[in-house]
Amino acid sequence: MRILRGLTIRQKLISIGMLSSLTALVAASVAFLAFDAYTFRQRLARRILTEAQITGLNSITPLLFNDAEAATATLGGLRAEPAVVAAFVLPPEGSEPFATYARDRGSAVAPMVPPDAPKEGHLYRSDELLVSEPIRFEGKVIGSLLVRADLGELRDRQRRYAGMVAVILAGSLLLAVVISRFVQKTISRPILHLAETARAVSAHKDYSVRAVAEGKDEIGQLVNTFNEMLDQIAQQNAALEEGRRELEGRVEARTLDLAAANKELEAFSYSVSHDLRAPLRAIDGFSKALLSDYGPQLDERARHYLDRVRAGTQRMSGLIDDLLGLARVSRRELVRQEVDVSEIARRVAAELARHHPERAVRVEIRDGLSADADSHLLTIVFENLMGNAWKFTGKRDDATIEVGHEVDGRGRAFYVRDNGAGFDMAYADKLFGAFQRLHADEDFEGTGIGLATVQRIVSRHGGHIWAEGAVDKGATFYFTLEQSS
């Protein structure tokens, strides 16, 4: 049956039809041939036995009067029966035949009396028939007649029959093919139709297509079940679509709510920051005036307090600037374009060097980095990350900052690496929260807003940011600018 597996249903059905008829025909032919051979043998045995009986009767007087010539002449009568190969008149004792007949007189080999011949009746050997008929006279056995017949006639007959059977087989098979071709359609057509429909449904995702059931048999039921399944799929699809739409609506509403809340919050923090400036400027201005105008009247202690007030106001001003920066980063519209990332990093490095001429920092920036990003916001990202790197390498003589990118299967990440103070990976998740600081103000100044701003920008670009590092082993900040694939 393995042979059938690779065929189409149509071919399978035709093959099955042919195979069935072939089997039936061959079985019938074999049975017919076997039965014919059996009846032929029976008939031949009866025929030869009759001949033997007649010849036996005619052999009585030749035996009684010891006339071998007459006995031979009598045996000659068997020539009428072509199946008889040889015949012998045998005396009751002794094996020397009294008279012999041979069909093929020219044959060099004289016919032999088979030693295993039956005493009376017939015996079939592989290719010949032996018939033995006792010759009786007045109740006494005076001899016997032994006839050997061959089965050449049977063989001829079977050869003819085999030829006939072959012709009939060929004809029947041809007929079976023609009939199978017609009959198989009643089974294969609905199946092929169903398969075609299923293919159409699968290819075009069109669940409204329906197969047509042709009958009430199993295939018809299959078609109906298939259609019911399509109905169910269509219904489920509709339900899913409805659910999706509802969910989308809900998400949209939430997003709008969230955006409104966010805007409110941003507006609030912006106005708070902005409004805090004026009183702060007053504190700073008047404390400065106080110091310059009444400095000499004030004692050392008072002047120190005033210096502390001024330092506090300046720090607060920086904080407000950063907060306003963060708010602006959130409010500003994103303008993406092809930007030269290497160039941005180089400008930021030059600016840092200009501000801190006392520092000797080795900055290595990979050439040819570019990205589809907002140029202004990306500059803020590098200002913060490289500024941090500059700041946290402050206690090292061989300060090095490295800017580059790494590409893997999921996308491309830019990085800023330094060999500075580093951080404990246990606090890695705290790095990007606003006002979160891992270092004491005495060691490294800062507001704790820079990385929050960077994360904001990165996430607005659809990317994400993460950091690796160890205490005193430096830190590496990675960020991507688009959704990783």
């Binding site: 005619n58 009585i60 007087t61 030749p62 035996l63 009684l64 009067f65 010891n66 006339d67 071998a68 007459a70 005396p91 009751p92 004792e93 002794g94 020397e96 009294f98 006279f137 007045e138 006494k140 005076i142 001899g143």
Partner: protein, 179 residues
């Protein structure tokens, strides 16, 4: 004494000898043993017109000089034909022969054969002789030797004239048939 063919051992004597002693490695039968057996076998293939009117015995008579010696008596001892015991008679006159069923005419009677046959006219006797011209001269069956094998001629004319009926199975074995 003429030696006959080897096959005769088993065959010619079979009918005669079965029922007697078992012929264990029987000696080769002599010419007259064969002829004696033939005389007996002839009776099986001939029908006499008045078989019911036969006497108490079936008579085989030998006319003239007996060439069989004791062979004929030995061969036919205890045999029956037509349910009658076979009786062998040796006779001198042809008239005595007319009461027999089979009359063997010895070669000593060659000279007066015509006379003998004439005497038997009207009787139902099967005449058997062994001179060469026996059948030509009116005898019914004549023994003859052919290649040392005993054969016979038949004068069917004479057989029918004596109202005897002879089986065709016997007739076809005759070397020569006069009719």
């Amino acid at each position: 004494m003429v030696r006959v063919g080897r096959t005769v051992v088993a065959l010619g004597m079979t009918m005669v000898l079965t029922g007697l002693a078992e012929p264990v490695e029987a000696p080769r039968p002599t010419e007259y043993e064969v002829k004696a057996a033939f005389l007996y076998n002839f009776a099986k293939f001939v029908k006499w017109p008045d078989e019911k009117g036969l006497g108490a015995t079936f008579v085989i008579a030998v006319l003239g000089e007996d060439p069989f010696g004791g062979v004929l008596d030995r061969t036919l001892a205890g045999k029956t034909i037509l349910d009658r015991k076979v009786e062998v008679r040796r006779i001198g006159s042809p008239e005595a022969g007319s009461r027999a069923q089979i009359l063997f005419v010895g070669s000593s009677e060659k000279v007066r054969l015509a006379e003998i046959l004439k005497a038997l006219q009207g009787s139902t006797v099967l005449t058997v002789g062994e001179t060469e011209d026996f059948t030509d001269r009116g005898g019914m069956i004549a023994f003859r030797l052919r290649n040392d094998v005993v054969r016979f001629d038949i004068n069917l004319d004479q057989v029918e004239r004596a109202r005897l009926k002879m089986s065709s199975q016997l007739i076809r074995l005759a070397q020569r048939v006069i009719s």
